[in-house]
Subunit: 81 residues, 4 copies
């Protein structure tokens, strides 16, 4: 090979390298973005479950109060006999 060929190949490689490095940076940003979204999803999911657990406790409270109510009704019926 002569000098001109080598210089041409070097230029080609330099350009490819710049393109590949750019592509890498873009992919890296996209990956960081995707991982952030995953983390936000996890957090939203956990908050959603926390809210649902609170609601579950409320529901347990209502069921307990309804049970007390049915006990009162049972007592009233028997006392009226």
């Amino acid at each position: 090979e002569n000098m001109n060929d080598l210089m041409e190949q070097k230029d080609t490689l330099t350009q490819k390298l710049e393109e590949t490095e750019l592509r890498s940076r873009v992919l890296e940003e996209q990956l960081v973005g995707a991982e952030q979204r995953l983390e936000e999803n996890q957090e939203e999911q956990e908050n959603f479950r926390k809210s649902l657990r609170t609601l579950l406790e409320l529901l347990d409270g209502k069921i307990f109060e309804l049970t007390e109510l049915r006990d009162t009704l049972a007592r009233l019926i028997e006392e009226a006999s």
Copy 2:
């Protein structure tokens, strides 16, 4: 006492007896009526209590179904973790 006095007393007694017998019959009817009303009340009361017991069973059923519902919610929350 002479005959006239005796006959007068007998008439008075006969009249009083008729009045008292009438009063007795009236009281007897009123008593029968009151006892019938008491019996009807008892029956209505017993029917009322029967209906309430049926309602109590329905309420028990609803409480059971709500408990199953809360169990399903609890399971869904945990499975989503």
Copy 3:
């Protein structure tokens, strides 16, 4: 009729009158008793219904609270979308 017959009839009437007056008093007491029991029943019945109305209000409260709970669940589900 002679004096003796009249006196005998008067005695018989007097005795019958005493028996019928006694019977009347007994019936009167029984009637008072029956009417008292009717009145007590009415009162017990009214108290029973008052207690049931209070229970009905409690049940209305529970139903309202369950409705708020279902609204919260509906909102959480939609907000999580």
Copy 4:
């Protein structure tokens, strides 16, 4: 520059290019993985919400049945008056 320098630079560039292309492929795989996980999360989330909507319908049903029950109780109380 002489031929040897140029050949050395070309070798260095070639190596860097291979490393950067490798890095790009790794990042691409990681990105595909992260996006798959995001998609799976979305699907799980949607299924979770579907299950919750079904549960919400069940709860609506229970509330409706409890309302019918309280109406029956109200009617029984008034009919007993």
